[in-house]
């Protein structure tokens, strides 16, 4: 998965046209607890079930923190 894939995936999960790398639960109304579940589900599908093994992903509520966790687990391409 690339950063662009992640941005597209989050936008799709939140039913938005696009999101940028600064997006988070704090600055997007659509990123509420349900939206967060949609994001987690989409990431997990994209990673073919690997997301549930990433410690801390459930509480990562910004694009930047998700990218950091995916990088730490070698699951995102630069």
């Amino acid at each position: 998965m690339t950063k662009n894939d992640l941005l597209e995936l989050v936008a799709f999960a939140l039913d938005l046209d696009k999101v940028d790398e600064g997006a988070s639960m704090n600055n997007l109304d659509d990123w509420d607890s349900l939206g967060h579940l949609s994001i987690l589900t989409s990431i997990d599908k994209k990673l073919q079930g690997k997301a549930s093994s990433i410690s801390g992903l459930a509480s990562a509520t910004s694009i930047s923190s998700i990218i950091t966790l995916l990088k730490d687990n070698d699951l995102i391409d630069e």
Partner: protein, 307 residues
Amino acid sequence: MKFLSIDCMLGSELKTANDLSDHIVISTLKKIEEKSGIINRRVCSELESAASLAKKLLNNIESQKHLNDADLLIVVSESKPSPIPPMSSHILSEFGLKEGLIVLDLDSGCAGYVQALQVVDAFFRNPLIKKALIITTDAYSKLIKSDDRSVAPIFGDGSSFTVLVNDGSNSIKAFHNGTDATKADNLMTNENSNRSLHMEGAEIFMFVKKYIPPSIRHCLKFSSEEVESIDYFFLHQASLLVMKELREDLCISESKSPFLIANTGNLVSTSIPFVLSQYLDKLNNKTIVLSGFGVGLTWSTIVMELK
């Protein structure tokens, strides 16, 4: 082990999204309804409680008969009114002396019924233990604030009474249990005087994704079964979202994994017996999987072969 009967009692009040609309905006409630699959919830009235629902189930001649000749009673509940005595004492207080009855209490919530079946199975290895009863009862609504959208639109209150007899068969072919207490604070009540339930839905969701499909696969492998050879998967009824994820992950059809809480809400310890009760007449000579998961965070899975 043979299921003789399962009776259920739900809270008497029917609640809809509109009942929460003073506290949560209706568009949010509709989104939650769509994801959770829960349209109506059955909750206790002010006069009802987890103990009173269970007492209602026992308050008839047939139940009394079972209570008088059973060897083992397991009560599964997290809703006791005070730390001491156990919930079983609150429930049995009106039913007189039960000499010779082993009474055990489990407070493991949504996994509790499946754990209780394993305890019954172990007791039934002794042929002198001929009849066992399991009562589940919870009333989370008493712990929920109406403005907490992570829990208020989700949970209902209910109780069940299962009667099992020892027919000499070893019904449980495989089991897999576990707990991750490092994550316990994702589903717990706070410590202040106005106890209320707190749930981190995303953490619970990831816990389920991580542990439940492998637990079910482990049981299938150990019992030499395949998804296709299992007649029914009775999974804890947390929400439609969770059920859909498990179905997809394990490639289970909708018809084999019923979701029946659209008009009750998540009934916690009663969720699995509630579904099971509606299938009991279809379970002769069937192989079934039961998996409960939640508070703890704990899970419990079994494969049962029923005669």
